[in-house]
């Protein structure tokens, strides 16, 4: 029933200026403790029975910040709980310049078959401004490692809407990224989040994001470039050659269940969303004690699930399946959301056929306004 797992490794050798995920500076002893705690959390939830799963995603933080030995411990812990060798999509996040061929070989050995590669931009100056520690040269060196270790399913992350980034800057990053001929790309616009260096700088007026027109133009450029190179958009921010869509990400957009292991990790289990404790010592203590390091759990009522099915599902270019919705909730989308659908169709933000409802190209630009329409009023349901 739960066929995906997200595993969070909250350690980094450096902290990016925009990052608001759960992360701590890497420290050998803390990481050792953490892996023990993580093991107990996973064993408590699924046991050591090598359960079959469709996707495993190890993210961070920086999973590759762990030492070789620790990486091996982590891989073993995961392999104890899940049948990694039979797992069709087993992804590790890796940051350029932060791993070598030896670590990569280890990942391969334990069944990892996909790498999400945090390139962000092809511009050393910009990388420095982002607080990243790598250079474009690191990217190319690691790409050779992927090739040698025969990792073909590699995805690259690209950022846009960055302070000081021009349309041209982004265009050259896209061109260079596409030139690598990889099967998958994700591209996110910068969000300036509280408790980050960027947030502080932005508040003080030291940095500003490009204006909305510019950012919209960058997004449209992204869509065009990907399309003209045969890399299809399958979600607002994700592009892939056919067959290389991230099954793990699709778990989220399909509103399916997933485990969330590790400090600050989020999971979705039948009927509830789970959030783990964030501070390392709290997480470690509780996970070692009883394997349940929960900060809290939120019950997902039917109305929540319905809303989420819509605002997550519409992110996919495939849209929301009418039949899938009806099978899951026993209700028809068209009757429940008649008024909203009429309005959004009039706006030409969504389109529908017999089977599905999905965003138009224009609707993609205004996703938040579209999604908001699917939050149900109190009197409904």
């Amino acid at each position: 029933m739960i066929s995906s797992a997200y595993i969070h490794i909250p350690f980094c050798n450096y902290i990016c200026h925009y990052c608001d995920f759960t992360k701590f500076f890497y420290n050998r002893e803390l990481a050792d403790q953490y892996l023990k705690a993580l093991e107990n959390e996973m064993v408590t939830a699924v046991g050591k029975k090598q359960q079959a799963v469709n996707t495993i995603y190890v993210g961070g933080g920086t999973p590759t910040a762990l030492s070789y030995e620790q990486l091996e411990v982590l891989l073993k812990v995961i392999a104890d709980s899940f049948d990694v060798m039979a797992c069709p999509e087993y992804t590790f996040e890796a940051n350029p310049g932060e791993f070598d061929e030896r670590k990569l070989a280890l990942l391969k050995q334990y069944g990892v078959n996909r790498i999400s590669f945090g390139v962000q931009v092809f511009d050393d100056q910009m990388l420095e401004k982002l607080g990243r520690n790598h250079t474009v040269a690191d990217v190319y060196e690691n790409l050779r490692h992927f090739e040698k270790q025969d990792f073909q399913n590699v995805s690259v992350d690209l950022m846009y809407g960055l302070p000081g980034q021009t349309y041209k800057d982004f265009e050259s990053s896209i061109n260079e990224a596409i030139g690598l001929g990889l099967p998958h790309y994700s591209s996110y616009s910068l969000q300036i989040e509280p408790k980050t260096v960027f947030y502080m700088r932005n508040k003080k007026g030291k940095i500003t994001k490009p204006v909305e027109e510019e950012e919209a133009a960058m997004y449209e450029l992204l869509l065009n470039k990907m399309e003209s190179n045969g890399i299809y958009q399958y979600e607002i921010s994700n592009f892939a050659k056919p067959g290389f869509e991230s099954q793990h990400n699709l778990t989220y957009w399909n509103n399916d269940f997933y485990f969330g292991f590790g400090a600050g990790a989020h999971g979705y289990l039948p009927g509830k969303r789970t959030v783990n404790m964030k501070p390392l010592n709290h997480y470690n203590k509780k996970a070692l004690e009883d394997g349940l390091p929960r900060l809290h759990e939120e019950t997902v009522e039917k109305r929540d699930a319905i809303e989420e099915q819509m605002f997550l599902g519409l992110r996919k270019t495939a849209g929301v399946s009418k039949k899938g919705f009806e099978d899951r909730f026993g209700l028809s989308i068209n009757s429940l959301y008649r008024r909203e659908l009429d309005y959004l169709k009039r706006k030409e933000w969504i389109e529908e056929n017999e089977e599905t409802i999905r965003l138009t190209k224009q609707g993609q630009l205004f996703g938040n306004i579209v999604f908001q329409e699917f939050l149900l009023e109190d009197e409904k349901l």
């Binding site: 996110y188 969000q191 950012e215 605002f311 997550l312 706006k347 938040n368």
Partner: protein, 607 residues
């Protein structure tokens, strides 16, 4: 503990004035303890009793005046009334009436901080009321205390000698005896004849749902008794006294109060507007010929429109205003309809602070989200047909063709400020169309400046500017001096080519272009991008004087993945939806609440 045995010569009525944080309440506590009004334990219990009552019955008991008994060094017993002044110094009038109930004040100054603007404002009120001033330097046991310097300040300011300044510490009890003896020796006993016609000053008035209005009174002449018919000399309303008493500190009913007594009175008064602060209570049978001096009917000077964000809250808003009016004789309101904002009320206030307090209370205590329009004053408009009308709502200003003259209220603004800031103050006053009247040096350092300024300029951001430009040192008071003709025009604001009545304002023609430009730019920033381009125009009559453009929204989609944190995505969407609800759909444009106050804030931005 009857006060009958204590003769009028041994009564002392005083108040404590101090800057916030200079230790007023600790000092008051020490005085309460030392006068043995109650033992410490009793005091706690008594106060708790009062609070429980408050909780159970919803009665608000405010200790406006505490009666204390003090055995002085000369062997005689004295009756003290310690009278509280309202916390908001901005309610200058209320403070002045509380002080009018006294014969002396303790001027408490922090030994480290020295004299501050707020203390000064109250001190001048005390001087106005011809009160004996006892300077007290408090917190002298603090490491940072500098009593020498503060004594010098007091000497310069009050012309007192070093010996007259009392050093004290409310915290450790130092100097409390000196203070009490000084009250006995320096504060004069109340004058007045118990047999003369009654004159009782109302210095506070509070509505209680069970007993009606409870008036705090100070008896200046004559005697008041339970059952007596009384008359309010200003409003000419008559009532029968149902209860009188003193706080010692719990409310203690008495049969009568006479000259020098300070206490409370109830008389089944339904509304505080019938028992106005500053009014004189006299006997209906044997009325005094003259009321006590200093009464001012506080007429609203500032008006604004108040509308519920959610139209269905209109009746709740009316109820809230009705409830607040019971306890606030200066609040006025009448129904108003705006094309842009729908049904609401045009409300009148004493000033900006009063306006803010009422708005906040409606939002907080009654849970109604409000949209308020920028404040306006009352204009007198002479029409070409000779008729004169008053306009308190800019959108109701008649067309220029039918107007022969517009008059606006002017005030005499009195600003007291340290020497160093005279330049800044004059600059602000000039920019606010002020006409210089006078400048006087109060001492080596302090200057009193008077200007005549249009009230409409004051209600904008005058006080804020004054405070920020003088680092809070300026104290400021104003009095209406009358109406004068001004070259005023109505400025209309158009959004997407529709005139938005709630955004109209009156402006001097010389400043019209500049203000129109400022507000068009401000609105461009305050109103979020819509799905289409929205022109913002400022117009006088048919003439557009300024324009800006709110560009169409181009992109609004969250791209980030958030590592499966769906709750966060949901919260963002919910917040966005909530924000949309707090916007007002005006014509085809969604306008946030702040935009309706934009007229107010633009001056600050121009600096």
């Amino acid at each position: 503990m009857s006060n009958n045995q204590i003769k009028q010569d041994n009564v002392r009525n005083f108040s404590i004035i101090a800057h916030i944080d200079h230790g007023k309440s600790t000092l008051a506590d020490r005085i309460l303890e030392r006068t043995k009004a109650l033992t410490q334990r009793e005091m706690k219990e008594q106060f708790l009793d009062a609070m429980d009552l408050e909780r159970e019955r919803g009665i608000t008991i405010k200790l406006n005046a505490v009666q204390l008994r003090y055995g002085a060094a000369n062997g005689e017993d004295y009756l003290f009334h310690l009278i509280d002044t309202p916390g908001h110094v901005d309610f200058t009038y209320e403070v002045s009436r509380s002080l009018a109930a006294c014969d002396g004040v303790l001027l408490v100054v922090d030994a480290a901080q020295g004299i501050e603007a707020q203390t000064l404002a109250n001190l001048y009120l005390a001087l106005d009321n011809d009160l004996e001033i006892i300077p007290v330097i408090n917190k002298i046991d603090l490491p940072a205390a500098d009593p020498e310097r503060v004594t010098k300040e007091l000497e310069d300011l009050l012309g007192v000698t070093k010996d007259e300044v009392i050093h004290a510490s409310g915290k450790s009890g130092i100097g409390i005896d000196d203070i009490l003896e000084a009250i006995v020796e320096r504060v004069p006993a109340p004058e007045g004849e118990p047999e003369d016609p009654l004159k009782a000053l109302i210095f506070d008035s509070l509505y209680d749902p069970y007993r009606g209005v409870i008036a705090s009174i100070s008896i200046k002449e004559g005697t008041v008794r339970v059952g007596q018919r009384i008359r309010m000399m200003q409003t000419e309303k008559e009532f029968e006294v149902t209860e009188i008493g003193v706080f010692n500190p719990k409310p203690t009913p008495k049969d009568s109060l006479t000259v020098g007594d300070v206490g409370y009175l109830t008389a089944s008064i339904k509304n505080v507007s019938d028992s106005r602060v500053g009014d004189t209570i006299t006997s209906a049978e044997r009325p005094a010929s003259e009321p006590l001096p200093g009464y001012k009917k506080m007429n609203p000077m500032v008006f604004c429109g108040i509308f519920p964000v959610d139209a269905s809250n209109y009746n709740d808003l009316r109820e809230a205003l009705e409830r607040l009016e019971l306890n606030d004789s200066s609040l006025q309101y009448e129904a108003e309809t705006s094309q842009a904002l729908g049904f609401g009320f045009r409300c009148g206030f004493l000033g900006l602070l009063h306006m803010e307090i009422i708005q906040e209370r409606i939002e907080r205590e009654f849970g109604i989200d409000l949209i308020t329009t920028a404040p306006s004053v009352i204009y007198e408009v002479e029409l070409t047909d000779g008729e004169t009308i008053t306009v308190d709502n800019p959108s109701m200003m008649p067309d220029t063709q039918s107007v022969s003259e517009v008059r606006e209220p002017f005030v005499k603004a009195t600003i007291m400020v340290p020497n160093d800031y005279v330049g800044s103050v004059m600059e602000i006053c000039q920019a606010k169309r002020g006409a210089f009247q006078d400048m006087q040096y109060l001492d080596d350092n302090r200057v009193n400046i008077t200007y005549e300024i249009p009230l409409s300029e004051i209600v904008y951001d005058f006080f804020d500017q004054l405070k920020s430009q003088t680092k809070g040192y300026a104290s400021f008071d104003y009095d209406l001096v009358g109406y004068r003709a001004s070259n005023l025009v109505k400025m209309d604001i158009l959004l997407n080519n529709d005139t938005i009545d709630a955004l109209s304002f009156i402006v001097h023609r010389d400043f019209a272009y500049e203000r129109g430009k400022a507000i068009a730019n401000k609105l461009k920033d305050l109103i979020p991008r819509q799905q289409f381009e929205v022109p913002v125009q400022a117009a006088i009559g048919n003439k557009i004087v300024a324009r800006s453009t709110i560009k169409a929204m181009r992109k609004n989609v969250l791209s980030k993945c958030y590592g499966g944190d769906i709750s966060r995505k949901r919260k963002l969407l919910e917040k966005q939806k909530e924000g949309k609800k707090r916007m007002k759909m005006v014509g085809s444009v969604e306008v946030p609440q702040e935009a309706f106050m934009a007229v107010l804030e633009m001056d600050t931005d121009n600096d």
